[in-house]
Symmetry: C2
Subunit: 371 residues, 2 copies
């Protein structure tokens, strides 16, 4: 008799390896690490919906992790929302990670505002430049972030078997596109968006301008010219974990393909023991192509999506996910995956947790501006 | 046949509980967390040997953890030494923790200089005031540090079974004396020192001046008036870990009695599941009385000392420990304890690791000033 619980997951690439991960992960020691940072690229009007207006997007990562840890924003008394008022996917992450007590750590790679919750500060943390008009980072900062993230992984590596790495960086899909194309991949038209109408033309325009400054495919050069502080830090952390035979889960959408490309670029080969876990909304998005990116960058990399469905949600802010808003972020897909696999919760039970958290948030938002 | 390895430890209080900890710890998941901070109390001439001169002591915690993580200081190109040139006990900690790969985390509670290695930043981190002439911390900062340390513990608590908490704060024995006496304990003459001649009269004079500002035995009031950012942060972290049924090891000397007193003061009762682990040098010191402090503050608290002996060391800087210099710090005793119990290394093997690290350091110091 098969007594394994019936996991409801979409295996979208390398099903065999993905199944091995899922079956082996139950009793593993794992850490959910959220890497945050800002890029002034998010100030370009219309490029991201990760904040009610361009200036506000600079604060979104900080508010995301403050809310994640404490259940309320601190730096500004406002929950991050899209311009149309749809709240941050950190709601899903908080419901699944914080409330289930999964070990977690915030890593600041260069948030515009330092979070007012305990977090690991990488000494070379720097906010990234607006890549259409300026370099992302000095090369020294890029190298420094690599060294910092490696040193952090080294401090923690023996405590865990699996590292689940997530991100919060507004305009991160744009810098991800720049990183992937800078490294030589034809990623045009393939990155996702927090908007229902992906501003692919605007992103392409920004990235084409940025790429005029790229002179080689060296990952450090590419990141320094057209990247941001977050993707490279995740990549460097992952490399150290993989080097010590640990499993890595990249919890995110098409941005994680940029991380994968950086890892491959730095190592010189396609890594093993690394899986991308995302949401159904991301996987099914017709304006982006995460499968296509994986096929180009790391064809053996397992891709798993969690089929969360908010179409019966009593809240318009969550039903909007079904119309293509938000889709992913702050490791939402990976968080649901862990609640499902590690805690054995059904997707219905997870939805109840999310709705419950949303309800709590609505009470909070009566006293709180939308950010 | 008893196949247990022969552990060489000194059980100096509650032997039965101490043995239970030692026998149970082998397969436990543990984290070594080093809490660092500065107090301007260390600027009082003659009060501490944790730096070559009073101004330099402000940088010692930062240099300690940079050296611990990277093997070299970064902020200043100098290894912390006493005025007579004896190097920091972080040498022992690095040999046992970093080089054996024990999971570790730096927590900045208020270092004067922000460390240039990845570290957890507590948002309310503040350098403490010089307690003979000014308050240690605003009450808001004390409350903030308690909340920060609690939130950090909450993020990590389910990943570990045992939290080993260490400190680096020059003049920490003076603020520890002030905390304990402020809380109502007769700790006079009982705190240790990094010097061979403990400046007990000077410490007493400083603390008596400080205590004139103390109006109640409320732990938050006492810390704000005469404490520092480190002891209260360790206490708050420990309380959250204990609340979640985890074991806590306080890795340090008489300062850890101040932590114990704060925990007891905040909880309202003597905590269980908490052990103090230190060095033989500290335990045998005739100018301080850790046993006496424990008897007053937490009579059921196990006290373990590691009988490391450097009398045959080929280096004067280590032989000096046998003359009463340094004695403890940066969790040195707890680090040796873990190398011995978790990694099963004999004290001779541990000494070889320390000598080897010292040798490496001597090579490094040819190119590096003594700090």
């Amino acid at each position: 008799m098969d007594t394994r619980p019936a996991f409801v997951l979409i295996f979208a690439n390398n099903r065999e390896e993905a199944l091995r991960l899922v079956e082996g992960i139950k009793d593993k020691r794992l850490l959910f690490a959220i890497f945050i940072g800002s890029t002034r690229t998010s100030l370009i009007p219309g490029i991201t919906a990760a904040g009610p207006n361009p200036e506000a997007t600079l604060y979104t990562p900080t508010l995301d992790v403050e809310y994640l840890v404490l259940g309320r924003p601190v730096t500004i008394n406002a929950i991050p929302v899209t311009p149309s008022g749809i709240p941050t996917p950190a709601i899903i992450t908080r419901a699944c990670i914080t409330r289930l007590g999964i070990p977690r750590l915030i890593v600041d790679c260069g948030a515009y505002a330092r979070p007012k919750v305990p977090h690991v500060l990488l000494p070379h943390a720097s906010t990234g430049g607006r890549i259409d008009v300026e370099d992302a980072l000095p090369e020294e900062a890029t190298r420094g972030l690599i060294e910092d993230a490696r040193a952090l992984a080294e401090c923690l590596v023996n405590a865990f078997d699996v590292f689940v790495l997530a991100e919060s960086i507004p305009a991160g899909t744009t810098t991800a596109l720049a990183i992937m194309t800078g490294l030589g991949y034809d990623a045009w038209g393939k990155v996702s968006s927090s908007m229902t109408d992906n501003p692919l033309r605007l992103k392409e325009e920004v990235v084409r301008k940025a790429l005029t400054r790229v002179k080689s495919r060296d990952p450090i050069h590419v990141v320094s010219k057209v990247g941001d502080p977050v993707h490279i830090s995740i990549a460097a952390f992952a490399i150290e974990a993989l080097r010590q035979d640990k499993a890595v889960i990249l919890a995110g959408g098409t941005q994680m393909c940029a991380v994968l490309a950086l890892i491959k670029g730095l190592l010189g080969y396609e890594p093993r023991n690394i899986t991308i876990v995302t949401t159904r909304w991301l996987l099914e998005d017709r304006q982006s192509d995460i499968r296509g990116l994986i096929k180009m960058i790391g064809p053996n990399t397992p891709l798993i999506a969690v089929p969360l469905d908010f179409s019966d949600a009593p809240y318009p802010g969550l039903r909007a996910y079904e119309d293509g808003y938000v889709k992913e972020g702050v490791g939402a897909g990976g968080a649901v995956f862990l609640a499902h696999i590690i805690h054995g919760l059904s997707l219905d039970a997870i939805k109840r947790l999310v709705y419950d958290e949303y309800e709590r948030l609505l009470g909070l938002m009566k006293n709180v501006r939308s950010h």
